[in-house]
Symmetry: C2
Subunit: 222 residues, 2 copies
């Protein structure tokens, strides 16, 4: 059976990738974890690069249409949504990934973090190319929520938000462990997402930069 080996590889790969990153996970580690032969990765996927793509695709295929649907529903109900509402529309699609695989949400968000910080823009381009329309609709929804910001400001704010989310998720395992040791409260990925929403929403919706505190515009100093 072909599909079985392929799935075993994908299942083992996504866990190792999410925990150690793409570069630091060898095909030998993956195949020994998946209990398949080393050569089967190249046989079934062609190359490590394509394996990484398929690992991510398995989740993106489910996530992106779901986000799109949520945003459309939100806008139908609230033509002028709040920032919180726009970002909260990501929660259910993210939790839906637990149906793709056990712990799917946690694995995917960590993969996303790894992908954004390790792949030198490849993942960003891939998502832009394959899900550009959905992305545009999401950005439009954000724009509706913070109409006072310019296009350029929204560009920056959204990348700040991506950074917050993606870094936190890539570190989520370590952060959870520290938090549980220091504050005796167990933390699941869903809890972290819930904590992130107010932070990101407030950040994205914040008034634009002011040169207060008696500082000169930074450009003049640097």
């Amino acid at each position: 059976m072909s599909a079985e080996t392929k799935t075993q590889i994908l299942d083992a790969a996504e866990v190792l990738f999410s925990e150690h990153g793409f570069g630091d996970t060898s095909l030998r580690a993956i195949t020994s974890q998946a209990k398949v032969n080393l050569a089967s990765v190249n046989y079934h996927f062609g190359s490590k690069k394509q394996l990484i793509q398929e690992v991510l695709q398995r989740y993106l295929r489910v996530l992106m249409p779901s986000v799109d649907q949520q945003v459309k529903q939100l806008l139908a109900k609230h033509p002028q949504p709040s920032v919180e509402q726009v970002f909260a529309s990501l929660i259910q699609p993210l939790l839906l990934l637990n149906q793709v695989r056990p712990q799917g949400t946690a694995i995917f968000v960590r993969l996303l973090g790894r992908g954004y910080s390790e792949s030198q823009g490849h993942l960003r381009k891939y998502i832009t190319v394959h899900y550009g329309d959905m992305l545009k609709r999401f950005v439009s929804a954000v724009h509706l929520a913070v109409p006072q910001l310019s296009d350029a400001e929204i560009f920056w704010r959204l990348h700040f938000a991506i950074g917050t989310f993606v870094f936190t998720m890539a570190s989520s395992k370590a952060l959870s462990e520290i938090a549980e040791a220091d504050y005796q409260e167990p933390v699941a990925v869903a809890d972290i997402i819930q904590k992130l929403i107010p932070y990101i929403s407030a950040g994205v919706g914040a008034p634009a930069a002011q040169y207060s505190f008696g500082l000169n515009p930074v450009k003049d100093i640097a």
Copy 2:
């Protein structure tokens, strides 16, 4: 002269590390860029790991005491500072790094981004161990600015802030290029830092999570 080779290695290494990451920068790339012999890295630094440490130390030695001083000055003047004020006290110390090396601020913040996302917590531990006291004082200052948040909430918010900062800085080169192409406005690292302050301040100071929008607590769903 020993110091000369050492400096040439450090100077070449920090640029390559900041652009391609630690793992994807080979000693051969560094030594050929620095125009020194391959073996001199191990001779002068012992190992690649120690080279990475010294690259970071060169900046941390300058940055951390400066941050500490700024925070102390701020608290002396404003015993109840705003979140913006606390985070803005990072700006001048960061810009001070341009005196360590040309483009020092840009290089360091990218290194920091790489270090936090690639070194699996090593950098975090290193900073905690070597600059724990200064870190505690900074966290206390944040606590003064947002006394309504619990210790645990502040822990999370600060790591969200680190994530925002570190990811943005690691991607700053790519983001600047996109922004300049799309919005025809040149962007320096100092500009990005200036844009980050309102976002991070609003995020850290945001009211704690609410289960609004008709959602159940996420833990019950997941």
